[in-house]
């Protein structure tokens, strides 16, 4: 019973956060100065009636709260609404595009995490490695993600390695400090004095102590990976959600933007909830 209550509370908190996030995005997008500008209104081929229709369409989205309430009502019925710019159901757009993004994000996340974790471990275990990996990470951290993307494109590397390279230095920095602190704890010394195998010390004594931070980092890194996916998909012309978000932003497509924001917020929040949950258990 207690368990059920906790699940309910977590779910409520999640829903509230996503709703607030969506509302904030709506307000932000709606009130930004460029929202009313529609490139189609400058199109000379359209006659006045078409322009009036476009105007009316904007007016419909004029009141933030009314738009949001309508959007949410649709969401409750499983209807994600229509994209204003592409004139297609958003659900269909997401369904046809999520796989591309999920694939490069998953590959990028996996590669970034493995690279960061292995190097962080090497840095903590071995003083000589610490210096080399430190230089490597500072170099990667000093380059803007766009520059990393350019580098990979010039070298014809796989697309997901851009995401991995963007994530790596941030993960590495955090993981190295985390592992350093974890290894400095007195109970690790006890484990060493028992003569345990280093791998066992890592798996049984070090990692369980930082499960919470690791999960939180996983959530943050997923969010970062999506941030990196936008320029990557835009540059690489990949039909994924990042490119969709980019197109939606350029076309000032409010329903699509709000839906995408809520989707990403929800994913991040789920990661956070899971890590919260883990800690309480």
């Amino acid at each position: 019973m207690l368990w059920l209550g906790r699940v309910a509370r977590q779910a409520a908190s999640l829903a509230a956060t996503v709703l607030i996030g969506g509302l904030l995005t709506t307000a932000l997008v709606r009130n930004s100065p460029g929202f009313d500008a529609d490139e189609r209104q400058l199109d000379a081929r359209l006659d006045d009636s078409t322009r009036a229709l476009i105007q009316a369409g904007h007016a419909e989205n004029h009141n933030v709260l009314r738009f949001y309430a309508r959007h949410m009502r649709g969401l409750l019925h499983g209807d994600l609404g229509m994209s204003a710019s592409l004139q297609t159901p958003i659900a269909g757009l997401i369904r046809s595009r999520y796989a591309v993004t999920a694939e490069i994000m998953a590959a990028g996340l996996a590669a970034g995490w493995i690279l960061a974790f292995v190097l962080a471990l090497a840095a903590v275990w071995n003083g000589a490695c610490a210096r080399i990996t430190g230089v490597f990470s500072v170099a990667a951290l000093s380059l803007p993600s766009a520059a990393l993307a350019v580098l990979v494109f010039v070298l014809h590397g796989p697309v997901h390695s851009v995401i991995a390279l963007v994530l790596f230095p941030r993960l590495f920095d955090y993981l190295r400090n985390l592992l350093q602190d974890a290894y400095a704890q007195p109970h690790i010394l006890t484990a060493r004095a028992k003569g345990l195998h280093p791998v066992r010390i890592l798996v049984r004594h070090v990692l369980p102590g930082c499960d919470r931070q690791l999960l939180a980092l996983a959530g943050v890194s997923a969010s970062m990976a999506f941030g990196a996916a936008i320029p990557v998909e835009t540059l690489g012309d990949l039909p994924g959600l990042g490119q969709l978000a980019w197109k939606a932003a350029l076309a000032r497509d409010l329903p699509l933007l709000v839906t995408l924001t809520m989707l990403i917020t929800m994913l991040t929040q789920i990661c956070n909830s899971v890590s919260d949950w883990w800690v309480r258990e």
Partner: protein, 292 residues
């Protein structure tokens, strides 16, 4: 007779070179050696160096470390690991943080066993040996459900599970209250008698060391300045630092000079025990030493 351990070691940390400089001492079989020094004198570094755990902290040890006819400093990492816990046990200070907070006591003790041997030991008997309640329920507890004294006993149980030839205790009683401290000291003493384990007992408290150590070495700024039998250290301290240590022992109130059976004071217990063990002829020597 060959000593269990002979050490002539120096140790450096990257940011603190010369933590230990040519520290030389030996521990005989079944002997309890007390190592006394102020904080920062390198006491804990000695414990870390003997188990070569100093390397995991970025430090480096040089010199000679003969244990059971092997030079531990020359052993490959893999073989060194077989020594830790199996042939040399370690008990740390601040017992509650030295236990993994997320694992049950039973699992941690069992892990100490499995690190070197197959099967499962008689855990209840082990608990009884260190004066812990020999109940399965106790093994299911987490460290936070223990008192500090109980946690220290658990650590000792893990350290002696393989009946090591040498037990290193690094200020094991500094986090304990006086009564528990006395109990733990008695436990070390009895383990030493029952199993014949040699003990290197590191402390800053000369009195508690004197109560049960056969010999005492005084460490100051990374060097051993004096080493002798307990009685000789108290009777005839050579080095000025040893003399200062002895002079710093609190002077007992007048009433206690005639009645020495006050159990609540650590020093009086020390005298009693020392007298029992026949190490001193009379309590006067201690009192005189503290006055000089």
């Amino acid at each position: 007779m060959n000593p269990v351990l002979y050490a002539r070691i120096s140790a450096d940390y990257p940011n603190r070179p010369g933590v230990l400089e040519d520290v030389e001492f030996a521990i005989g079989r079944g002997e309890i050696l007390g190592l006394v020094g102020e904080s920062g004198s390198g006491k804990s570094t000695i414990a870390m160096t003997l188990l070569r755990l100093i390397e995991s902290k970025g430090g480096k040890a040089r010199g000679e470390l003969l244990f059971q006819d092997r030079n531990l400093l020359a052993l490959p990492g893999r073989k060194m690991r077989r020594v830790r816990g199996r042939e040399i046990g370690l008990v740390l200070q601040s017992p509650l943080s030295a236990l993994n907070p997320s694992l049950r006591i039973g699992a941690q003790i069992l892990e100490a066993w499995r690190a070197h041997r197959q099967g499962s030991p008689d855990l209840l008997q082990l608990l009884e040996m260190v004066n812990l309640p020999p109940e399965p329920g106790f093994l299911n507890r987490y460290p936070r459900q223990l008192s500090v004294g109980q946690a220290q006993r658990v650590l000792i149980a893990m350290a002696v599970i393989h009946r090591p030839a040498l037990l290193i205790a690094d200020e094991p009683t500094s986090a304990l209250d006086v009564v528990t401290q006395a109990e733990i000291l008695r436990l070390f003493s009895s383990l030493n008698r029952q199993m014949g384990t040699s003990i290197l007992y590191i402390s800053h408290d000369l009195l508690s060391v004197a109560s049960f150590c056969h010999r005492i070495a005084i460490l100051q700024q990374g060097r051993i300045v004096e080493a002798n039998t307990t009685a000789e250290i108290f009777r005839n301290p050579q080095h000025p630092y040893t003399q200062a240590l002895l002079a710093a022992i609190p002077k007992p109130p007048n009433c206690l000079e005639t009645t020495t059976d006050c159990p609540s004071l650590a020093w009086s217990e020390t005298i009693n025990q020392a007298v029992d063990d026949g190490q001193y002829r009379a309590k006067d020597s201690l009192v005189c030493a503290s006055r000089s």
